[in-house]
């Protein structure tokens, strides 16, 4: 464990915490442009989080401790994930404590707690949201795992930094398996981050919402943490995608301090492009009925399995 490693770990963590709301603001802004609306401020998510922290928390009668601790646990799990995913550098001492499979486990931890918290009050919408979230989760989680498996079969490791190191230093060749995996990953990310074809982050229309239905009862600091955690989740997924499919520019262990500083602008540019792409996808597609979501996710799962099969067949 080197000093540079610890520094890059802390820097990456701080950048994830700080930039995650900005990414959400950027996606919203791009979407507004594309849809010919006047865009809100780029920094709106920060203002929202600050406003929520100031307010008094309202907790529903009959809520148990699960309801009140869940925002912290979800936030903690997402922070933990942000420390694992190599976004700036691959020299991450903490990443050894949890590999790609454990990363998916951390996402599952957050999901299970938020679903339980949604059921805690005993409202109709809460349990509806919990059920739908688990429905999305049980298909999205294996698909994500299969995508990561494909990458780990290619690189011979489930440790994310090692995967990125191998991918960044290989020749620029076309990996058919990664193409399948990339499509599957995009679909999964849309579903997991409550984005448009599956869920709509801007809706409060009862019949269609998933994520919003679960967090209906939250207010003030609890809601602020959940929003921040959701932003971190989007950030994490974007970084996983960038790390797996566009790993160039991430500083390796031997590159030194300068590369670390150079990696930050590269990351921001990549995230900006990724966020724009997300806005394009969200603008071009329509929200599908909830009953179609299993088909969508089932397709993603099958594509991910196909990616692994192709990898086995072609050895690439």
């Amino acid at each position: 464990m080197s000093a540079a490693g610890i520094a890059s770990q802390l820097l990456q963590f701080a950048i994830a915490l700080a930039l995650a709301p900005l990414l959400v603001g950027w996606v919203n802004q791009c979407r507004a442009w594309l849809q010919n609306k006047s865009a809100p401020s780029l920094f709106l998510p920060y203002f929202t989080i600050r406003k929520l922290f100031v307010k008094d928390a309202v907790v529903a009668e009959g809520a148990s401790a699960i309801f009140r601790t869940t925002p912290y646990i979800v936030f903690g799990a997402m922070c933990c994930a942000a420390a694992i995913v190599p976004s700036l550098a691959t020299d991450l001492p903490f990443a050894r404590a949890a590999d790609a499979i454990a990363l998916v486990g951390l996402f599952a931890l957050a999901r299970v707690f938020i679903a339980l918290a949604a059921m805690d009050i005993g409202t109709a919408f809460g349990s509806l949201g919990a059920r739908r979230e688990m429905l999305v989760g049980f298909l999205a989680e294996p698909a994500l795992l299969m995508v990561l498996f494909t990458a780990s079969l290619i690189s011979g490791s489930t440790s994310l930094p090692t995967i990125v190191d191998t991918f960044a230093h290989r020749d620029l060749a076309i990996y058919p398996s990664l193409a399948f995996a990339g499509v599957a990953f995009t679909m999964v990310s849309l579903a997991e981050n409550a984005r448009i074809p599956v869920d709509n982050p801007a809706t409060h229309l009862e019949l269609t919402m998933i994520h919003e239905a679960m967090v209906l009862e939250y207010s003030a600091r609890h809601l602020a943490l959940i929003e921040w955690a959701a932003a971190l989740k989007l950030f994490n997924y974007s970084c996983i995608g960038l790390a797996l499919f566009f790993p160039w520019g991430i500083a390796a262990a031997e590159d030194g301090w300068l590369a670390l500083l150079g990696a930050a602008p590269v990351l921001i540019v990549k995230l900006a492009l990724g966020g724009f792409l997300l806005a394009v996808i969200e603008t071009l597609s329509a929200k599908m009925r909830i009953f179609r979501a299993p088909e969508f996710l089932g397709t993603a799962f099958l594509l991910a399995v196909l990616a692994m099969l192709v990898n086995q067949m072609l050895g690439s």
């Binding site: 309202v58 903690g76 050894r96 404590a97 949890a98 109709a124 989760g137 780990s152």
Partner: protein, 666 residues
């Protein structure tokens, strides 16, 4: 002078038998049985676990007990495999005994003293199964185990449904026992010597090893609940008292895993690769089937029973993978896979016992097993609820609890598979891995449903307001198991050190030097490939949670107001508007519709008292069991044709038989 561990194990078995027999002296004295005998049984269990844990690293020890038939003594042997499962039995059994001390009450059914006798005979028989070293002793113990558990299942024998469930269990148990007996018959290879020692020495030729393996798979699979012999589990578990369900699901199913491992890896020398493929496919279909059915259950114990089927499926799939690796001579990978298998068996014993015992507490507090009539118990029964949450998260495979570690190890084993020489197998692996992760993800769905519907939300029935938390004994037992789930989850390196000797015994290789980098970091093969440290993950999550709480409260404030739930402004809210168990399972029922035989009752618009009901049935009943039952019945009816009930007809039969015999024998 030191006492050999095997003698101590025998002493524990005898102690359990003695405790059980004492229960018979005053069968109706509940106080004596529950306050003295069950706690004593728990202490014996702990002692057994300690002895087993100590002897796991020792060389195998054998003994001959001059019991049984003349010239056919019982051979006993304590090696690492037995010791590991004895540890599992003792550690989980101790908690269940402690819980039983607070659980059993006087009822219409079997008197408490007799339950105590059956219960301790059951424990002793399981321990005896694990140390038996010849087919005769093994079968005696195996059958005593089946019988004792049968009587425990039908504790409430005045209810016809429970008797029916018990009969089904006994039937499947015997089908399994016949298969196991035949497997031993094949394994002795014509020597006529049924000791395991001689079976180890025999080298079977031709199709015989395959026959033996599949007989063992069918026999032990019947006990473990493998497809299609799983049907007794969802019937017997709800029928049995909760500690018995916990013992059967947490421990007894593992004796079947023990048997399968013993036969496959110890008594046989060579394994064929396609056995592994079959076991893998069977295990994964069992896992998927179990978890899909668990998702649509409305009875909490049936739900857990199906979840046990799922976990057994995962374990058997792991055994299949281990066979595959062994057949291709990859000792290191075999060791990793077997470690995952044994680890998962231990984990399942802890979290499933915890969950079954928690349902027992709920059942006592509310008299209700149906998920649709529970809810909101976290306020009334905080101890049970929070400990059940630990079990729920463990069963859902959530890090950093124990269920995740073994699944993590198993997935690692899958990812190593591409090094196998056969391309067909290499193609199979992605599909198998996909099925495994799908069932693991569905398990989280099932567990959220279980915990959310039982403990969260608002009480669905008015009488739930009077539910009382578990008593002292029950609470201690639940705490013990919950702590076990956490410790097994965060200290994987230490647990694996315990499993190492079993690997050495079964395949002659230790996985140790690669599995553990240091005491913190779990890293099979090498730390570059993969590593996981639950303790660090736990510490970081807890640290971030505490820090966030402090910072938010310090920088802003910690004010809280309580108000009625908002729920999008809907004014009318009744507890019946929450998701029921049917509602929560509905998406799964829809997606996996071909799996089920669905019986739906839709009310007509003119119905004065409209009722909607939907039931998902097991297709195996109609496709497999009912035809067999009908076939047996019609055969019996055919045989009945010759029974005329007149003595002259029977005399004619005897005459004809004699004639035929004279003709053939001459």
């Amino acid at each position: 002078m030191t006492v050999p561990p095997l003698s101590l194990v025998i002493a524990a078995i005898v102690a359990w038998l003695a405790i059980g027999t004492t229960g018979l002296v005053r069968p109706r004295n509940l106080r004596f049985v529950s306050r003295a005998l069950f706690p004593a049984g728990a202490i014996v269990g702990l002692a057994l676990a300690a002895v087993a844990g100590y002897s796991i690293d020792l060389p195998p020890a054998s003994a001959v007990l001059p019991l049984g038939l003349p010239d056919l003594p019982f051979h006993l042997r304590l090696d690492a495999l037995s010791a590991f499962f004895l540890l599992l039995l003792g550690a989980a059994g101790a908690a269940i005994s402690l819980f039983s001390a607070g659980y059993f009450r006087s009822s219409e059914g079997t008197p408490p003293g007799v339950i105590c006798f059956q219960y301790h005979v059951f424990l002793a028989a399981m321990a005896f199964v694990l140390v038996a070293d010849d087919a005769y002793a093994f079968m005696v113990a195996w059958e005593s185990m089946a019988l004792a558990s049968f009587f425990l299942v039908i504790t409430e024998h005045r209810i016809a449904e429970i008797r029916r469930a018990g009969f089904l269990y006994l039937l499947i148990a015997h089908i399994g026992a016949i298969a196991i007996l035949l497997a031993f018959g094949v394994l002795q290879g014509g020597t006529g010597d049924y000791t395991f020692d001689s079976m180890r020495a025999v080298i079977l030729q031709g199709a015989w090893p395959t026959t033996a393996f599949f007989l063992a798979l069918a026999g032990f699979g019947a006990k473990a609940g493998l497809l299609p012999l799983h049907i007794w589990l969802p019937e017997a578990h709800p029928a049995a008292p909760s500690p018995v369900s916990a013992l059967m699901s947490g421990v007894m199913l593992k004796t079947a895993i023990y048997g399968l491992l013993r036969v496959t890896f110890d008594l046989m020398h060579a394994q064929l690769w396609w056995w592994g493929v079959v076991a893998l496919a069977l295990g994964l279909s069992t896992a998927l089937f179990g978890v899909v059915f668990a998702a649509v259950q409305t009875d909490m114990k049936r739900l857990l029973a199906y979840s046990s089927i799922e976990n057994i499926g995962i374990i058997v799939a792991g055994i299949g993978l281990a066979i595959l690796f062994k057949a291709y001579d990859k000792p290191l990978l075999t060791a990793v896979t077997l470690t995952a298998v044994l680890y998962h068996a231990l984990n399942h014993a802890f979290f499933k016992s915890l969950l079954f015992l928690a349902t027992g507490s709920v059942l006592h507090a509310t008299n209700e097993r149906s998920l649709g009539k529970l809810g909101g118990l976290i306020h009334r029964m905080p101890w049970v609820a929070w400990l059940a949450l630990v079990g729920t998260l463990a069963a859902a495979g959530i890090p950093p609890l124990n269920g995740f570690v073994s699944e993590w190890l198993l997935l690692q084993a899958f990812l190593f598979t591409p090094s196998l020489p056969q391309s067909f197998v290499n193609m199979l692996v992605p599909l198998a891995a996909a099925a495994l992760v799908l069932s693991a993800a569905l398990a989280a769905y099932v567990m959220v449903k279980f915990f959310g519907v039982v403990f969260l939300g608002r009480p669905r029935e008015p009488n739930l307001a009077y539910a009382r938390d578990a008593g002292r004994f029950e609470r201690f037992a639940l705490i013990y198991l919950g702590a076990g789930c956490v410790l097994l989850g965060v200290l994987p390196v230490n647990v694996i050190a315990l499993i190492e000797p079993v690997n050495t015994l079964l395949i002659g290789t230790r996985a140790s030097q690669p599995i553990a980098d240091n005491w913190l970091l779990l890293a099979p093969i090498s730390a570059d490939r993969s590593s996981y440290s639950p303790l660090i993950v736990l510490a970081v999550i807890v640290g971030v949670v505490m820090l966030t709480m402090r910072v938010v409260h310090r920088l802003y404030h910690g004010r809280v107001r309580h108000a009625p739930a908002w729920d999008c402004g809907f004014p009318l809210q009744t507890p019946r508007m929450q998701d029921t168990a049917e509602g929560f399972g509905q998406p799964i029922r829809q997606i996996f519709e071909p799996f089920f035989l669905i019986e739906r009752h839709l009310p007509s618009p003119f119905d004065p008292a409209p009722r909607y009901s939907v039931k998902a049935h097991d297709r195996f009943w109609g496709a497999l069991y009912l035809p067999i039952a009908r076939g047996a019945e019609s055969l019996a009816r055919l045989a009945g044709l010759i029974q005329r009930g007149r003595i002259s007809v029977y005399l004619t039969y005897s005459f004809c038989t004699l004639l035929a015999l004279l003709f053939f024998v001459r």
